[in-house]
């Protein structure tokens, strides 16, 4: 039997005629950060709600931490940590009180509770604010507390549902660093996001979900490679422009660029940059500027779905 911490097979959830999640297959391996990428309404959160036992699948199966999400829901709950969208925290409670509540509900012994809470508060930088009501916290502080709450029982698998939505860049970077640290310590992380950069920066592998279906899955670098060759951009002096075009054309298909810049889809990728430079040098062409642009995840997304994630609010809604 596959021992991966998260396995979904033909997992589906329908709301009437709407297929929010339409039969997805998914495997997240031990120790991975897995990014689940898609626009609003694509089915990310619905999939996470099924994997975290909050929602029953209409059909299909899923196992998390080795347990069936329907038949062994309590076992799943014992082994996962979840930080959902919008940091669902009671604003009337303090950070300490919330950690205590969470610890008791997870059955952590009273003598270990305080130590664990202090450790987590320190870890997320909230020790000084621990006795303040959450209503006085900033958005970033709430997210960090939410993360601390999800870690109280040292879960093997951590689900983060759009953890940085609405955060300022600094808070976002802090949270990313914490996610990396947790992952280095052995926690398997499944992260949903609509931010390409977040998926690119954090995830070992990603799945792109659109209209409830997974349309691409793999390592970000591999997925980008499938879109096409990287574009090599070169600036040369005006008198060498035609000659340089001739040289570049030997390495791939010329691509449209801004005026004064030459671009070529570099067959073979980054490894061939040195070869291009040598060829230009042999042709006595002086290179003023050189830049290699890899295809982005947005290119991957566009190729898979027919529209771009940036500005995806105009994308067709889930069926």
């Amino acid at each position: 039997m596959n021992s991966a911490p998260i396995i979904a097979e033909q997992l589906a959830r329908h709301f009437g005629d709407v297929k929010a999640v339409d039969g997805i297959d998914l495997t997240v391996n031990q120790g991975e950060i897995f990014g689940f990428l898609g626009p609003n309404g694509a089915g990310k959160s619905t999939a996470v709600r099924m994997l975290t036992t909050l929602l029953r699948p209409t059909s299909g199966t899923a196992r998390v931490a080795g347990f069936d999400v329907v038949k062994q829901a309590d076992e799943v709950r014992r082994n996962i940590g979840v930080a959902l969208q919008d940091a669902a925290i009671d604003p009337l409670m303090t950070g300490n009180e919330l950690l205590e509540l969470q610890a008791v509900l997870y059955g952590i012994a009273s003598n270990k509770m305080k130590e664990r809470a202090s450790e987590l508060l320190e870890r997320v930088g909230l020790t000084a604010a621990a006795d303040r009501r959450v209503s006085t916290y900033s958005g970033g502080m709430r997210r960090r507390l939410d993360l601390a709450l999800s870690l109280i029982h040292q879960p093997a698998v951590l689900f983060l549902d759009e953890p940085t939505t609405g955060l300022d860049p600094m808070s976002r970077l802090t949270l990313w660093e914490e996610v990396r640290r947790l992952n280095r310590e052995g926690t398997t992380v499944m992260l949903t996001t609509q931010y390409l950069e977040e998926a690119d920066q954090l995830a070992d592998r990603i799945a792109i979900i659109d209209h409830g279906k997974i349309v691409r899955e793999g390592k970000p670098s591999d997925l980008k490679r499938t879109v096409g060759d990287p574009t090599l951009l070169i600036n040369v002096s005006r008198e060498h422009s035609d000659a340089a075009s001739g040289v570049l054309a030997r390495f791939g298909e010329m691509r449209p660029t801004a005026e004064g810049t030459l671009g070529v889809g570099l067959r073979g990728g980054a490894e061939r940059v040195a070869e291009v430079v040598r060829a230009l040098d042999e042709a006595n062409i002086v290179v003023e500027h050189l830049e290699l642009n890899q295809p982005s995840l947005d290119d991957v997304f566009a190729e898979a779905t027919g529209y771009r994630l940036e500005g995806a609010d105009n994308a067709p809604q889930a069926r």
Partner: protein, 259 residues
């Protein structure tokens, strides 16, 4: 996983909010006091009806005020659950491995503490306004038992509706149903002075039995209900049966939240 620890911490959260959110507690305290004072003052002549169980209107309306307050404190738990569902906090609770029973019993325990506080304050004010416990300590205990029982029934009903509707649509049904159940009972006058369909409905309404239990220590010593076994037993059976059904309803709807 200790259910009692979970119940305790969830009850603590609820009780703590009395201090942190007094705007939610004080109206719930003011309403039974208002009901008691206004009804006892307005309908003081009701005691002149031949065979009326007490010669003091406040003895009749103080338990009604407490029962109304207890019922609304109970369904108020439904409002709290709706707020927690809407903010997502309830998802956090549901994602923990604690028993589903503790998710119901914890907040319920907090509500029962509120009901004890409210009942005590209304009793003190009632006595200051002339109420007399003809049944002594046993009568007072019966009033507390009825208040706690009715709030448990209201809590189960309120939670169940909250889990069905998941938003404030459930609130109107909660309030309307409490008004109907309370006023289609012996809330205002005893069964023997009712007639027609109202008498029939009140006779089968379990709230009538619970109100009888609440009043066994406040009716005249000469009245048949005064600390009577029938009145006490009937009220307790109504509480156990209706409480069991309403909590069962709440648990069932909680489990169906994932559907």
């Amino acid at each position: 996983m200790s259910t009692s620890r979970s119940v305790g911490i969830l009850a603590t959260r609820s009780i703590r909010n009395i201090r942190r959110l007094p705007s939610a507690f004080f109206p719930a305290l003011a309403m039974p006091i208002f009901n008691m004072v206004v009804f006892a003052g307005t309908f003081f002549a009701v005691t002149k009806i031949p065979g009326f169980p007490t010669d003091r209107s406040i003895n009749w309306y103080m338990p009604l005020g407490i029962m109304m307050g207890s019922a609304f404190a109970g369904v108020g738990l439904g409002f709290t659950a709706i707020r927690d569902i809407e903010t997502g906090f309830y998802d956090r609770l549901r994602m923990t491995p604690t028993s589903r029973l503790s998710l119901v019993l914890g907040p319920l325990t907090g509500t029962l503490v509120r009901v004890v506080m409210m009942t005590t304050i209304v009793i003190v004010i009632g006595i200051a306004l002339g109420a007399r416990f003809t049944g002594g300590v046993l009568g007072i205990l019966c009033l507390y038992a009825a208040a706690l029982g009715l709030s448990t029934i209201g809590a189960g009903w309120g939670l169940g509706l909250a889990f069905i509707f998941k938003d404030m649509r459930g609130a109107a049904i909660m309030q309307l149903s409490i008004f109907l159940v309370m006023f289609l009972s012996s809330a205002q006058v005893p069964l023997n002075v009712m007639d027609g369909w109202l008498h029939t409905v009140a006779r089968i309404n379990p709230a009538t039995n619970i109100l009888r239990l609440a009043r066994v220590g406040l009716v005249n010593e000469s009245n048949a209900d005064h600390l009577s076994f029938n009145a006490v037993w009937g009220g307790i059976v109504a509480i156990v049966v209706m409480g069991g059904l309403s909590l069962g309803f709440a648990l069932r709807q909680l489990r169906k939240l994932s559907n």
